[in-house]
Structure formats: C-alpha cells, structure tokens
C-alpha cells in the first residue's frame, strides 16, 4: 500500500533477454511523482530496453510495471499514450516526410475527437478543434522550445539537434504526466546541451511532468536529477541522489574500471 502512493511508476523485477543475452536481469525501481529520475550506465547496460519495456515495445519475460497503480503489462502499445506516458528515442523516431508542425500535431492525437466523417467535412467543431490545437502548439510548445523558425520545414531536412528538439515538442503535445527521454542531448554542442537541460527543467517545474532521463552527459545528469539509478549488465547497481552516486564505489568501478578517469567522468 505504501509503495503505491510513494511511486508514480513502479518497476518490479523485470527480466528481458534476447537469445542468450540477458538485457535486463531483475531490475526493480520506482519513480516518484514530479521528480527528475535519471538512468545511467555504460553502453549496452539495458537503459533503452528498460524504457522499451515500459512502453510495451518489448515484452519482458518476467516482471511488472505499474503506472499510478495500474499494471501496464497487459496493455497494447497504443494504449500507453492515453495514460499520460510520452517518450523520445535515442535515434529520433519522427515522421520524416511531414512538417515540424504536423509532427507536433500528431502528438495531440489522443486529445482530439474528429473522426473520418467530421474530419473530411472540416466544419464547425472540427475546425475549432484544429484551430485550438494550433494555438496551443504555438503558444505553449513552439514558444517554449524556441522552434518558431522551423515550424514549416520538413523534418528530414533538419539537423539532428533540431530533430531531437522537435521530437521533444511532439512528446509535449501529448500532454504527458511522465516523459521518458532517451539521450536527448546526444550529438549536441555545449550550448545546445545547456538549452535542452533548461527545457527539461522548465517542463518539469512549470508543467509538473515527471521525467525519466537517460543521458551520457554526466554534467547534465548530476545537475538536474533528483535521483539517479545506475544499470550495469542489466542489473541495478546503485540508486540515490546525485551526491551519493558520485561517491558510490560500485558505480565508480562499473563505470570505467579505472578510478581516476571515472572520477573525472562523474564530475567528482
């Protein structure tokens, strides 16, 4: 009972394997409502797999995920969105041939009503709904993420960094309660990385969205996380506040094996 109130998202003993490879080996953790929860770990540790299990893209052999007390294990992938779970991907998964604006509009799919008849007629309610959506996107999302200049551009023509930002915008259009971000700052320069960190903080504080963040940039992770979970070879090896993680022996050893290098990498 206690646990149910304490955690918005609970992950219980998740096992996932590909052939002989154990990608996740009994991971248990929980995310509190309103926090920024980071997942770190070396390449191949199973971080992305964990998000894929939450999303129902992968079906773990064992274990449960509970979101606000509801078991996600039996839901279809498309049902996850309407619970308020949004996500961005390590390798951007945008609709490449559409404009930035249309991509973001797609994020709002679950919040809209028009169907195949009313949509084709485009009059009255449908028209008002489309206008309201456009206004919401312009004023809340495009403005926040500073992408006014590119709203009419076709996505595949944009540089990688901007595509990542558009993907974040699309996730925001889903008006999520919890946002799963898979390496949002990869491939970005210092300035862009700082922008992204600022956006994540804004989204967390102003919209009250819980964030699960996978990120290799330790500066960002240590700066903005409330708590951090460390995975290695599919197992959780540590969990706690940034300060604890920075000095945790297991983490230091797992991360690079070489203590002094690790120290500088973790920013201690």
């Amino acid at each position: 009972m206690e646990g149910r109130e304490k955690y918005q998202l609970k992950i219980e003993d998740i096992h996932l394997s590909f052939g002989g490879l154990k990608a996740l080996n009994g991971v248990t953790t929980g995310v509190r409502s309103g926090e920024i929860f980071s997942i770190i770990g070396p390449n191949g540790a199973g971080k992305t797999c964990l998000l894929n299990c939450i999303n129902r893209f992968y079906h773990p052999e064992k274990g449960k995920t509970l979101f606000e007390g509801q078991d996600l294990s039996r839901l279809k992938a498309h049902k996850i969105a309407s619970l308020g779970i949004a996500r961005t991907f390590q390798n951007v998964e945008l609709f490449g041939h559409m404009t930035v604006l249309d991509n973001i509009k797609l994020g709002a799919h679950i919040h809209m009503k028009s169907g195949s008849i009313s949509g084709g007629i485009y009059y009255g309610k449908t028209r008002r709904e489309e206008m309201a959506l456009r206004e919401h996107i312009e004023e809340e999302i495009i403005d926040l993420l500073e992408i006014e200049q590119i709203r009419k551009k076709t996505v595949h023509t944009l540089p990688y960094g901007l595509q990542k930002r558009v993907e974040l915008a699309r996730a925001l259009a889903m008006r999520p309660k919890i946002l799963l971000l898979d390496e949002p700052a990869t491939g970005m320069n210092l300035e862009e990385t700082e922008d992204i960190a600022r956006f994540i903080l804004d989204i967390n504080e102003e919209w009250g969205v819980t964030i699960i963040l996978i990120e290799h940039d330790m500066g960002v992770v240590m700066d903005i996380s409330d708590r951090i979970c460390v995975l290695d070879f599919g197992q959780k090896i540590a969990e706690g506040e940034p300060e604890e993680i920075r000095h945790n022996e297991h983490v230091i050893r797992a991360y690079l094996g070489e203590e002094d290098v690790t120290y500088s990498r973790l920013g201690a």
Binding site: N55, F57, K76, A77, H78, K79, I80, A81, S82, A86, R87, F89, E93, L94, F95, G96, H97, M98, D102, K105, L106, G107, H109, I110, M112, K113, S114, G115, S116, G119, G120, I121, Y122, T126, E130, M131, R134, E135, E138, R170, M174
Partner: protein, 346 residues
C-alpha cells in the same frame, strides 16, 4: 493586439485556399468547368466523364496506398462490388440512383474492411498479393452468382433521374460526375489535414512511432481500407449508371494495376496527384489511339504500329517511375515554382 494578429495568422495559415488570388483562380476554374460541357462534343464529354470517375477511384486508392502506405491490388474488385450493388439496387429493388450511390459505397467499404484485415500482419508486396485474392474471389462471384449478377449476360441499368429530368446524355451526366469529383476531392483534402489523415500518414511513415502517439494501427488501417473502398464503390456506382450496363469482365486485375499506375504516375500521397494521374491514364491512351490510327492508314506500317499504343503507354509509365518517382504532382509543383520565381529561377 499582438495576440489577435497571431490568431488571424493561424486561421489563414490553416486554410486550404490561402490567398484571395487562389480563391479567385479557383472560382474561375469552377466556372470554366460549368461552361465546358456546352462547348465540348459528346465524344470529348464521354472521355471527361471517364476521367471524372477515374479521379474518384484514384482518390480512394491514393488514400490507402499513397497516404496510409498499404498497397492494394484489389481496387477493381471494390469498384466492381460498388457497381453491382448499385445495379442490383436500382433494377431489382427500385431504389433511385441517388440512394444507390452511398449504399454502393457502404457495401464496398464493408468488403474493403474484410479484405484489409491481413494488413495488420503483413506489409508491402505480401499485402499486395493478399489483396489480389479479393480480386479473384469477386471476379468469380460476379461471374457465377447468376441469380444476383446475371453472370456474363450482365445487368442493364437505366439512366439516373431527378424530378423527372433524365440524365440520358454524356453532357447531362457530366454534372453528376463533376459534383461527385468536387465533393470527393474536398473530402480527401480535408481528411488528410485533420486527425484521421495525419494518423494515416504517421502509419505510412513510421508505424512504431505512430503507436507511441496512441494511434491504434488496427483501427486506422481498417478505416483507411473502408474509406478507400467507399470511394471505389462510388466510382463503380457512377460507372454503371454512365455505361448503362455491367458485366463481370469490366473489373479485371489489369484495372487494379491501372489504378495503381494512376496514383504512382500522378503522385503517391498527393490529392492533386490522383487527379493528374487519372487524367493521364485515361487521356494518353486516347491520344495515342488518334496518333496510331493516323499512321495505321499507311499500309506499310500497319503491322508494326498496331501494338505501338501499348508500347508507348508502357514506356511513358516507366519513364515517370524513373525520372519523376514522386509523380506529376511534383513535376507540376516544380514547374509552378520555376515560373513564380522567373526570371530569378536559378
């Protein structure tokens, strides 16, 4: 003040016909379409009616294949189902043409949904093969279910009537075709810029991400099949009342392929593309027929030029696939841009 300005911009930005200039052109174009039948002869009007009916069918296939990414080789079967439904309703049940059209659409949509079910599991060429099954099943049904379809004898269908006015010439029928083409085009255009249409495109581009947005793939693929075959049914229904007869051999596999060629040549995923493609596929063979008829009169060329029409037609399609894979719609867009910017095109 600033806010108000912004809102006006969105409203204008979201409109299909954005400037006064475009609206005036469109109005002029519509007036031309209305005057046109009084200037053209019956032969030209016959061709134009066929083009109109093909446009409606092509819109349907383009929504399914071009926008949702589901290849279908069963489109002719859906057109046939619409044609027979309409013919049977008019001749056996005595329902007027006007009601038979939407009913034919609904019947085809229903059949389309059933044929579309495999699309949930299979994609691309495999789906194309699965939809061919529909083609063969329905050709067989049209042929052998004699008590309903009268088999190869076919069904004779009377001309449509409205308040005692008979649409008994190509010229009169033109207005029926025009009406359905305009409605069908506007519907398609609106659909693809709202929720359902965006979901179709999302499924085509990246179905995994579409699911993440909460799009139910099962439901939307079937919706796409339903809408697509609804168009096919309407096209079939218009076709029987225009031709006044329907027989099983009117809906062969080659017609399905022709429709696929239409949307590819016109431009997959473009509403205007369906229109260009339909015009191309109906008009070019006619023009080639004139050309070859002329040459055929020269006795020495007779044997060589008889099949020339098919060869040239096929070559033109291949040419498009190679040099303009995005179709006539894209070619037209680039030409327009060129002239709009001229003389600063480069």
């Amino acid at each position: 003040m600033r806010c108000g300005d912004f809102k006006d911009t969105y409203v204008r930005d979201e409109a299909i016909f954005q400037s006064v200039f475009v609206k005036v052109w469109l109005a002029l174009f519509l007036v031309c379409l209305l005057i046109f039948p009084f200037l053209a002869n019956e032969y030209v009007l016959y061709i134009v009616n066929l083009i109109g009916i093909a446009i409606i069918g092509a819109h349907g296939l383009n929504l399914l294949t071009g926008f949702t990414g589901q290849i279908s080789l069963g489109h002719a079967a859906f057109i046939g189902v619409g044609a027979y439904t309409s013919a049977i309703l008019i001749t056996r049940v005595g329902i007027p043409f006007w009601w038979s059209v939407p009913m034919a659409g609904i019947m085809s949509a229903f059949v389309g949904v059933i044929i579309g079910i495999p699309s949930l599991r299979i994609k691309g060429l495999y789906l194309a093969i699965a939809t061919i099954a529909a083609q063969f099943i329905f050709e067989y049904v049209f042929m052998t279910w004699e008590s309903m379809t009268r088999g190869i004898r076919g069904i004779n269908v009377p001309d449509p009537e409205l308040f005692g006015f008979r649409f008994d010439t190509e010229r009169k029928f033109y207005f029926i075709t025009l009406f359905f083409v305009v409605v069908g085009t506007l519907y398609a255009r609106n659909l693809i810029r709202t929720r359902v249409g965006r979901a179709f495109i999302a499924i085509r581009d990246r179905d995994l991400a579409a699911e993440l947005m909460g799009i139910n793939l099962f439901r939307y693929k079937l919706t796409s099949f339903a809408i697509s075959s609804f168009y096919a049914g309407v096209a079939g229904s218009l076709w029987v009342s225009f031709m006044n007869i329907v027989t099983p051999e009117h809906f062969p596999l080659s017609l399905s392929i022709e429709y696929l060629a239409m949307v590819i040549v016109g431009g997959l995923g473009s509403v205007l593309g369906s229109i260009y493609g339909a015009i191309f596929m109906v008009l070019v063979p006619e023009i080639l027929r004139f050309g070859t008829d002329f040459i055929k009169d020269i006795p020495a060329f007779q044997h060589i030029f008889a099949p020339l029409r098919e060869v040239v037609f096929g070559a033109l399609i291949v040419f498009f696939l190679i040099f303009e894979p995005r179709g006539l719609a894209e070619l037209w867009r680039r030409m327009k841009n060129f002239f709009l910017l001229w003389p600063f095109s480069y």
